[in-house]
C-alpha cells in the first residue's frame, strides 16, 4: 500500500470525514485514520439534532449553512440517511425561563436566525402533545434531525467512491515533521509510518492528546453526555423540542423511537471510553422529558448511553491552522458540531485549498497554554 499522501486526516468523525471528502473531490490524495471505526464516537452516538435553538448564538450562521447541507444531503453525500426537516420549539415553563427564552431568541435572530415567540396556545396548535403547562415557546421553522447511526455508513461509501484510503482500528502514536509529516500508527501492535505534506487533526475528545505530539498544549474538557431512547411509539411528535435552559432535546424518529438528550452529564474519559451515568442526572433528564411531553408516560426506556464530546475553555470551536506547524490544521470541539459539521468541514477544506475563508475567530492560538 502506498505510504505517501497529500493530506493525512486524524479522526473519522463528521469533521474529519467531511474535510476528507471535499479535499479528495478537489483532487487531493487523502488518508483518513481512526483509532476505532468511522463515526463511532460523538458523531455516531449523538442525538442528531439539527437545531438552531441550541447552537451558540455566534455560530448560528454556520449552523444555518450546515442545516442547508443536511437538507440537501443527496446532492453531496447520500440518500441513505434519514434526515427530516421539522420545526423546532424551545419551551419555557417559568417566568425566568420565559425571559431567558426571549433573550436567547433575540441574540440568535441578531445572528441570522428567524425565531418567533409564540404563546402557549399557539405552541399547542403546532405540537398538541406538549405539556399544557408551557408559558411560551420559541419557534424556528428551520430545525430538524438526522439519524446519527446511519451517517457513518453513508459517509464511508461516499469516501470510498472518492478513493480515499481509510485506516480504521489504527491509533496515531507519533507525529514528526521533516520535509513531510510522518505519522506513525499502531494497528494490532504493528507500527507503520505514513507521510504527507499536510495533516488535519479532527479527533474530537482526543485532540488534546494528539496536539501534544506536535508540542501544542491546550486545555480540552472531555464531557460525557447522556442520551435516552424509548421503545417505538405511535408517531405523535412532529417537531424537535428543546427548552429554554438548553437542557433538553426531544425528537421522534420515523420508526417511532423517541430520542432524548440535552447534555446532562455523566462520567467518562478518553482513556478507555467507558462511560456511565450519574444517576441523579439521569433521573433529572427523565423527569424533564416527562414533564415536557406527557405522552412519554405510555412508553418504556429502552436504552441509555453516553457519548464523549470535547469542549474548549471558551466553549467555542477550534478551526484553522496550527501555529508553528506549517501544513498542520485542526477542526473540532464545536458543540452542536453535528449540525454545523458538514459546513465547517467544507470550510476548512476550502481554507486548506487556499480559498478565501476567514477562520480567525476559531484560531487555536487563543487557547494555547504558554510554556
Amino acid at each position: 500500500m502506498n505510504k505517501t499522501f497529500d493530506t493525512i486526516i486524524v479522526g473519522a468523525g463528521i469533521m474529519g470525514s467531511t474535510v476528507a471528502l471535499f479535499l479528495a473531490r478537489a483532487g487531493k490524495k487523502v488518508l483518513l485514520i481512526d483509532k476505532s471505526q468511522i463515526f463511532r464516537s460523538a458523531s455516531g452516538s449523538n442525538a442528531g439534532t439539527l437545531t438552531i435553538h441550541m447552537t451558540r448564538a455566534s455560530l448560528v450562521p454556520y449552523a444555518l449553512k450546515g442545516w442547508e447541507m443536511w437538507m440537501n444531503l443527496s446532492e453531496w453525500l447520500s440518500r441513505d440517511i434519514e434526515v427530516k426537516h421539522q420545526p423546532g420549539l424551545c419551551l419555557a415553563f417559568t417566568e425566568e425561563e420565559e425571559k431567558l427564552l426571549v433573550e436567547r431568541s433575540k441574540i440568535r435572530n441578531d445572528n441570522g436566525a428567524n425565531i418567533k415567540i409564540l404563546n402557549s396556545a399557539e405552541a399547542q396548535k403546532i405540537e398538541p402533545s406538549l405539556s399544557k403547562k408551557i408559558r411560551c415557546a420559541a419557534f424556528s421553522e428551520i430545525d430538524g434531525y438526522a439519524y446519527a447511526n446511519q451517517t457513518g455508513l453513508a459517509y464511508k461509501k461516499a469516501l470510498q467512491k472518492e478513493n480515499i484510503t481509510i485506516l480504521e482500528n489504527s491509533e496515531v502514536i507519533k507525529i514528526k515533521k521533516n520535509a513531510k509529516f510522518s505519522v506513525t500508527i499502531s494497528n494490532k501492535n504493528i507500527n507503520q509510518d505514513y507521510y504527507a505534506d499536510q495533516i488535519v487533526l479532527a479527533c474530537g475528545v482526543w485532540l488534546g492528546e494528539i496536539l501534544k505530539m506536535m508540542n501544542v498544549k491546550i486545555n480540552l474538557k472531555c464531557l460525557a453526555q447522556q442520551l435516552i431512547v424509548t421503545e417505538r411509539m405511535n408517531n405523535f411528535l412532529n417537531s424537535v423540542i428543546t427548552i429554554a435552559n438548553g437542557k433538553l432535546s426531544l425528537k421522534q424518529f420515523s420508526n417511532g423511537n423517541v430520542l432524548i438528550g440535552g447534555g446532562w452529564p455523566g462520567v467518562g474519559e478518553t482513556k478507555d471510553k467507558f462511560t456511565s451515568t450519574i444517576p441523579e442526572n439521569l433521573i433529572g433528564n427523565i423527569r424533564l422529558a416527562c414533564y415536557t411531553t406527557p405522552e412519554l408516560k405510555n412508553t418504556r426506556i429502552s436504552r441509555i448511553w453516553l457519548g464523549l464530546e470535547a469542549e474548549t475553555d471558551d466553549a467555542m470551536p477550534i478551526i484553522g491552522k496550527i501555529p508553528d506547524n506549517e501544513g498542520a490544521y485542526i477542526i473540532g470541539s464545536v458543540h452542536s458540531g453535528y449540525t454545523s459539521g458538514p459546513y465547517m468541514g467544507k470550510l476548512l477544506s476550502e481554507y486548506i485549498l487556499g480559498k478565501n475563508v476567514n477562520l480567525d475567530s476559531f484560531n487555536i492560538s487563543r487557547l494555547i497554554q504558554k510554556q
Binding site: T277, I278, I286, I304
Partner: protein, 473 residues
C-alpha cells in the same frame, strides 16, 4: 431515599443467590436479596404463583419451599417482584416494581441472575406457537399446564428431557423429540454423569419413561421450518448433514418447544465494564472471575450459571464461596478460616462440576446448524434483521458486533440483544471468517430491563428536577 447501605446486595434468588444469602446470614450483617420473580428458587425451582394451591409433594416444590422458609426466618431483607435496572458508581442499585422505583446502596454486590435461552434461528421461528424450551419448563412446572395439546420438542441439551418428562407427567401429548445431538454424543458423555449418582438416576428414570412411551426421537436432526397452518404448525425436520437438501420430514403440532442451550446472563457484568472471556461450553461470554467469583470490578461478584452454566448443584457451592470471601473481607473470618472453608467448598465444587461439564457438552449447538439460517431468516427478532442484512453490513465493513449494531439496529430493540446475541455472532463470524470470540460483545447499558418512563420519573415537581448548569448562550 433512605441512607441505609447494605453490606451485601444479591441480585437473583436462584440456587446460588440463596446459597450466598444464607451463608452470609450466619453473620450479623445487612443483606439485601432482590429478585424480579415473585418467589425464590430461580428457574430450576420455579415455584407456582402463590394463588395456585399446588401439590407440594413434588420434590422440587419441597426444596423451593424449604429455601423460602429459611430466607423468611433469617435476617435477610428480601425484595421479590423487584427488577434491577441499573447499577452505578459506588454500587447504587436502581430497581422498580410495576408502579414504583427504588434505590438501594451496598458495599458489595453479588450477581446471581442465571441464564437466558439460546435458540439458533430457522425459518418461521418467530411465528406464534414456537416457544423456548426453558419457557416450556416454566409453563409445565410453575404454571402447571401444557402449552397447547400436542407438542414437538426440539433442540439440544438436558432441557429436552426435562420438557419431555414433565409433559408426560401432566398427561400431555408429544408428537416427536428432535435432538440435534446424535445418540453417540449422549453416550460419549454418559460416563461423566456417574459423578452425581442421584442426578444420574433421576435422568435415567426420565429417559426410560420417554422411551417406554414410544415417542419418536429423531437424533442428529434439526427443525428447519415452522409455518402457521391455522391453529397448527407445520414443522419440517432435516438431518444435520442434509440441511441444504430439500428432502425433509414433515410433522404437525400446535406448539414447537425449541432451545439450544443456555447463555449466562451478563447484563450486569457488561454494564459494570467487567472483563469477559469466551468459553463455548460454559455458555459463551462469561465474566473473568478469581477463585472467589469476584470479577475484575472490585467487590462485584458473579456466581451461579451467570458465571458459567454448570447447573444448580455447583451453583450452590459458588454462592457459598463468594459469601466466605465477602465475610473475610469484612474481617469476620480469619485468613486461616477462609482457606480452610475454601478448601472444603472448592473440593465439593470440583466434584459437582463434572456432571455439569458433561451436560454442557451436549448443550452447545452443533456448528452445522448455521445452515438452517437462510438469507431471509430473521435473526434479530426485535428489529426484524435478517441474515442477509447482517451479511450486507459485513460486506460494508462491519466486522465486530458493536459496529454491526450501529449500522443494522441488530440488538437495539427492546430485548437489547439478549435473544439474538449468539445467532448474530454466529452469522457475523461466518461472513467475516472470524471466530465468535473475536467479534466482541455488545456493550452493556442501562436499563437492564425496560423501565416505564413514569415509574423511572416517579413523583416530582418541576422545581425538584435537579438543576444543572444551563447551556451557555
Amino acid at each position: 431515599m433512605n441512607n441505609k447501605v447494605y453490606d451485601v446486595a444479591i441480585i437473583g434468588s436462584g440456587p446460588s443467590g440463596i446459597a450466598a444469602a444464607l451463608e452470609l446470614s450466619k453473620y450479623n450483617i445487612n443483606i439485601l436479596l432482590i429478585d424480579n420473580n415473585e418467589r425464590v428458587g430461580g428457574q430450576i425451582y420455579r415455584a407456582s404463583p402463590p394463588e395456585f394451591k399446588s401439590d407440594e409433594s413434588v420434590e422440587e416444590m419441597q426444596i423451593q419451599k424449604d429455601l423460602e422458609e429459611k430466607i423468611k426466618k433469617s435476617n435477610i431483607v428480601y425484595k421479590p417482584n423487584h427488577t434491577v435496572w441499573q447499577i452505578s458508581e459506588n454500587f447504587r442499585i436502581d430497581g422498580f416494581t410495576e408502579s414504583e422505583a427504588f434505590v438501594w446502596r451496598a458495599n458489595k454486590i453479588i450477581v446471581a441472575t442465571g441464564t437466558t435461552e439460546r435458540i439458533v434461528p430457522f425459518s418461521g421461528w418467530t411465528n406464534p406457537g414456537v416457544i423456548g424450551l426453558a419457557a416450556t419448563t416454566i409453563i409445565l412446572k410453575s404454571q402447571q399446564t401444557m402449552p397447547g395439546k400436542k407438542i414437538i420438542i426440539a433442540g439440544c441439551g438436558p432441557l429436552l428431557l426435562v420438557v419431555a418428562y414433565y409433559t408426560l407427567k401432566l398427561g400431555g401429548k408429544i408428537e416427536a423429540i428432535i435432538d440435534t445431538n446424535s445418540k453417540w454424543t449422549w453416550l460419549k458423555n454418559f460416563i461423566f454423569l456417574f459423578s452425581n449418582i442421584p442426578l444420574f438416576i433421576k435422568g435415567f428414570k426420565w429417559i426410560l419413561k420417554i422411551l417406554l412411551c414410544r415417542i419418536p426421537i429423531y437424533s442428529n436432526c434439526t427443525v428447519t421450518s415452522a409455518e402457521n397452518n391455522n391453529d397448527l404448525l407445520n414443522v419440517e425436520i432435516k438431518n444435520l448433514n442434509n440441511i441444504e437438501n430439500s428432502k425433509s420430514i414433515k410433522l404437525q403440532c400446535d406448539t414447537l418447544c425449541v432451545g439450544h442451550g443456555l447463555i449466562p446472563s451478563t447484563d450486569f457484568s457488561r454494564l459494570m465494564n467487567a472483563h469477559h472471556k469466551f468459553d463455548k461450553y460454559l455458555g459463551g461470554w462469561i465474566p473473568e472471575v478469581n477463585k472467589y467469583f469476584e470479577t475484575s470490578v472490585p467487590n462485584f461478584y458473579q456466581i451461579g450459571d451467570a458465571s458459567g452454566v454448570l447447573g444448580a448443584m455447583p451453583a450452590y457451592e459458588k454462592g457459598k464461596i463468594a459469601a466466605i470471601s465477602i465475610i473475610h473481607k469484612m474481617n469476620l473470618l480469619s485468613d486461616y478460616e477462609l482457606d480452610q472453608q475454601y478448601k472444603i467448598l472448592s473440593k465439593k465444587l470440583k466434584r459437582l462440576k463434572i456432571f455439569g461439564e458433561a451436560i454442557s457438552k451436549i448443550s452447545f449447538p452443533n456448528d452445522l446448524l448455521y445452515k438452517q439460517i437462510l438469507p431471509e431468516t430473521i435473526v434479530c427478532r426485535c428489529e426484524d434483521i435478517t441474515r442477509k442484512d447482517i451479511e450486507n453490513s459485513a460486506n460494508n465493513g462491519a466486522h465486530d458486533l458493536n459496529q454491526l449494531k450501529t449500522w443494522t439496529r441488530c440488538g437495539m430493540g427492546p430485548c437489547q440483544g439478549r435473544t439474538c446475541h449468539y445467532a448474530t455472532s454466529l452469522v457475523l463470524a461466518k461472513c467475516t471468517n472470524k471466530k465468535i470470540e473475536d467479534l466482541g460483545y455488545w456493550t452493556g447499558r442501562a436499563p437492564v430491563r425496560p423501565i416505564p418512563f413514569y415509574v423511572a420519573a416517579g413523583d416530582f415537581t418541576y422545581e425538584e428536577i435537579t438543576k444543572i448548569e444551563s447551556t451557555p448562550i
